[in-house]
């Protein structure tokens, strides 16, 4: 049996017109990057981060020459006692904290963007910021002298607040064993906004009056404090744990890009995968929040830029966004504490000025892509 149509001469499939080929997009993504080039780029980025940390250590209200730091590193000549104190008790903890904050925000941004299949999602998207803000506010206003294992009450409560909120939001968005992406976003928005605004009440009843409010405001704008080494070690361990857990989820994120239905037919347990992604993403957000308050845009921009350069493969993006996020925040925080030295700009404010225009630029450029 042959239809008339089958007899019609048609061009072989291979010679079908290919239309636009490797146009402007190819320039943007540099075409496919092979594994060894990718490894080299990753290592270079890691070296750049190490370099940025060393330079950042020397900068600040008291300048410590790079040469002195390097010769101390090589055990040639020890630093003076003041230099040693500034370096190890203040600058290094803060710089390491900012690199962890940057990496954690960028990776959780990557995970939430992949989960919601929306490149405009950020780590605070499902309400983490609200819970963290409320927790931190209670810590600042009522428990300012209290510390547990190097964690200030503020850091600890912010961490707990972020995790609890995301659990509540998730429970609210879940019905009949399924969790809709849009429902999750909207529930996150509602709960987050309620909690953020409830901090106003605490400010009213603040026994320390104005000073507490100022600290709360600085915290809400995002300021990386100087953590104790104990806190830094504990947070670093948590961060490492989250990264190890994130790695196998990256391939799952690639599959989820095809949509829930398709991922399901490929044998993926959607709900379990979703919970795992939310858990790890939340842990990372909480880590960042406990060290630096609410820093906008970092978690949104870093994965976005990484995706523009390296393509959307999440397995690769994990390493790139972690290192890129750390590098970006180390630079931003160094600027924040040096441009107006000896007074300081909250790094969150700096990020808003850098990130806001960039976000709008992306929005204008790719309107098509960001429909929810």
């Amino acid at each position: 049996m042959e239809t008339e149509l089958n007899k019609v001469a048609i061009s072989p499939l291979t010679s079908a017109p290919l239309g636009r080929r490797q146009g402007d997009r190819a320039l943007k993504t540099f075409g496919p990057i092979n594994p060894s080039t990718f490894l080299i780029i990753t290592l270079l980025l890691l070296l750049t981060l190490a370099g940025a940390i060393i330079v950042s250590v020397s900068l600040g209200a008291t300048h410590i020459p790079l040469r002195a730091i390097l010769s101390a590193l090589l055990h040639r000549q020890p630093l003076t006692e003041t230099q040693h104190t500034i370096l190890f008790a203040i600058r290094l903890p803060r710089i390491l904290a900012s690199s962890i904050v940057g990496a954690a925000l960028a990776v959780s941004g990557l995970m939430f963007q992949g989960l919601f299949r929306n490149p405009m999602a950020d780590p605070y998207i499902i309400g983490a910021s609200g819970g963290a803000a409320l927790g931190a506010c209670i810590g600042i206003v009522f428990l300012s002298q209290f510390t547990v294992y190097g964690f200030s009450a503020t850091a600890l409560l912010a961490f707990i607040g972020a995790v609890l909120t995301m659990m509540v939001v998730y429970a609210l968005a879940r019905s009949r064993g399924r969790t809709g992406g849009v429902t999750l976003l909207l529930a996150g928005f509602a709960v987050g906004t309620m909690l953020t605004n409830s901090t106003y009440l605490f400010e009213l009843f603040d026994p320390n009056s104005s000073s507490g409010i100022r600290i709360v405001a600085a915290w809400l704008h995002g300021t990386i404090g100087v953590p104790e080494w104990k806190q830094l070690t504990a947070t670093t361990c948590l961060f490492a744990l989250a990264m190890v857990a994130a790695f196998p989820l990256m391939r799952r994120l690639n599959t989820l890009a095809l949509g829930d239905d398709y991922a399901h037919q490929l044998g993926i347990r959607i709900e379990a995968t979703r919970i795992a992604i939310i858990l790890v993403g939340s842990l990372l957000t909480a880590i960042a929040v406990s060290l630096g308050g609410l820093i906008s845009f970092a978690g949104l921009i870093i994965p976005h830029v990484a995706r523009l350069i390296f393509g959307p493969n999440n397995v690769r993006l994990l390493a790139i966004t972690a290192i890129g996020g750390a590098l970006f925040l180390v630079i931003a925080d160094t600027l924040a504490r040096t441009v107006l030295a000896p007074s300081e700009l909250p790094v969150g404010i700096l990020m808003v000025f850098l990130g806001g225009p960039f976000f709008i630029y992306l929005l204008r450029k790719g309107k098509r892509e960001y429909a929810l």
Binding site: T3, L13, T14, N118, N254, A257, Q265, G267, R269, P312
Partner: protein, 257 residues
């Protein structure tokens, strides 16, 4: 001929609304079967039940003797692949990256793709003539290219049964013909196809069997040339037989000869 997929008195309802009732038919291994019916007649629902995405409300769906919606996920995904009407990808994944996702059922959480997986992807690209498109971004492809890539994604899954939901939709006549040639090739590879199709004139040449889903939820089954008559179609699609578009007449008349 061995039955690969069987529906026994299958019914389905979304909440209150009954979509399908008493559907029974068999798809034998190595055949190419068409599903015909008006919009909303339940073709997509039927395909989704066959793929295990939906469970039948009543009756039995059997895929090699097992119920698709209750089979272990991975086992099922190696047996059946559903190529959906729409595939929206939020990021700029390339064709190769998309097609490689078809190997997901064969990968572990930590184990990356092996040589076998790469070969399966290459084969899927070759069969669908999409190897030239591998570095193009999926979202920037034309409708016909996209359709072929979606089928390549299904093929990379190495399933025995390929379910296609309106594969010829929005394609021009040239791209539709390309697709029919591809179906022939897949059949030669031993792949079984169950496709819902609105373009009636394409069915007789490439499909060995057709099932019409009627508005009264009855079914008309048989050889395409026998059942795709203007009388049956006017019943299924609720139109006046005299106003049947002339091209359909010609294609069908040719078929009858």
């Amino acid at each position: 001929m061995t039955p690969l997929l069987q529906f026994f008195n299958v019914g389905f309802h979304y909440d209150e609304r009954q979509v399908l009732s008493n559907v029974s038919f068999t798809v034998h291994a190595g055949t190419c079967v068409a599903l015909v019916g008006a919009n909303g007649s339940g073709k997509t629902t039927l395909l989704r039940m066959a793929s295990g995405a939906l469970a039948a409300s009543s009756g039995v769906v059997s895929l090699e003797g097992q119920t698709p919606s209750k089979m272990p996920h991975r086992l099922r995904s190696r047996l059946v692949a559903l190529v959906p009407q729409q595939l929206d990808i939020p990021f700029d994944f390339t064709v190769q990256q998309i097609v490689a996702q078809g190997r997901t059922p064969y990968l572990g959480l930590l184990r990356g793709p092996s040589q076998t997986d790469h070969l399966a992807v290459e084969r899927a690209l070759d069969l669908t003539d999409t190897a030239d498109l591998r570095h193009r971004i999926f979202n920037e492809l034309s409708g016909g290219e996209r359709q072929r890539v979606k089928i390549a994604l299904g093929l990379a899954q190495e399933a025995k049964l390929l379910l296609l939901d309106e594969p010829t939709q929005n394609l021009d006549i040239g791209r539709q013909t390309e697709l029919l040639i591809l179906f022939d090739r897949l059949r030669d590879e031993g792949i079984t196809i169950l496709a819902s199709i609105h373009d009636i004139h394409l069915i007789p040449g490439s499909f060995s069997e057709a099932h019409i889903l009627n508005p009264d939820q009855s079914m008309t089954s048989g050889m395409p040339a026998d059942i795709l008559t203007s009388e049956n179609l006017s019943k299924a699609f609720r139109f006046t037989p005299g106003r049947f578009p002339s091209t359909f007449h010609q294609a069908l008349a040719q078929e009858a000869q």
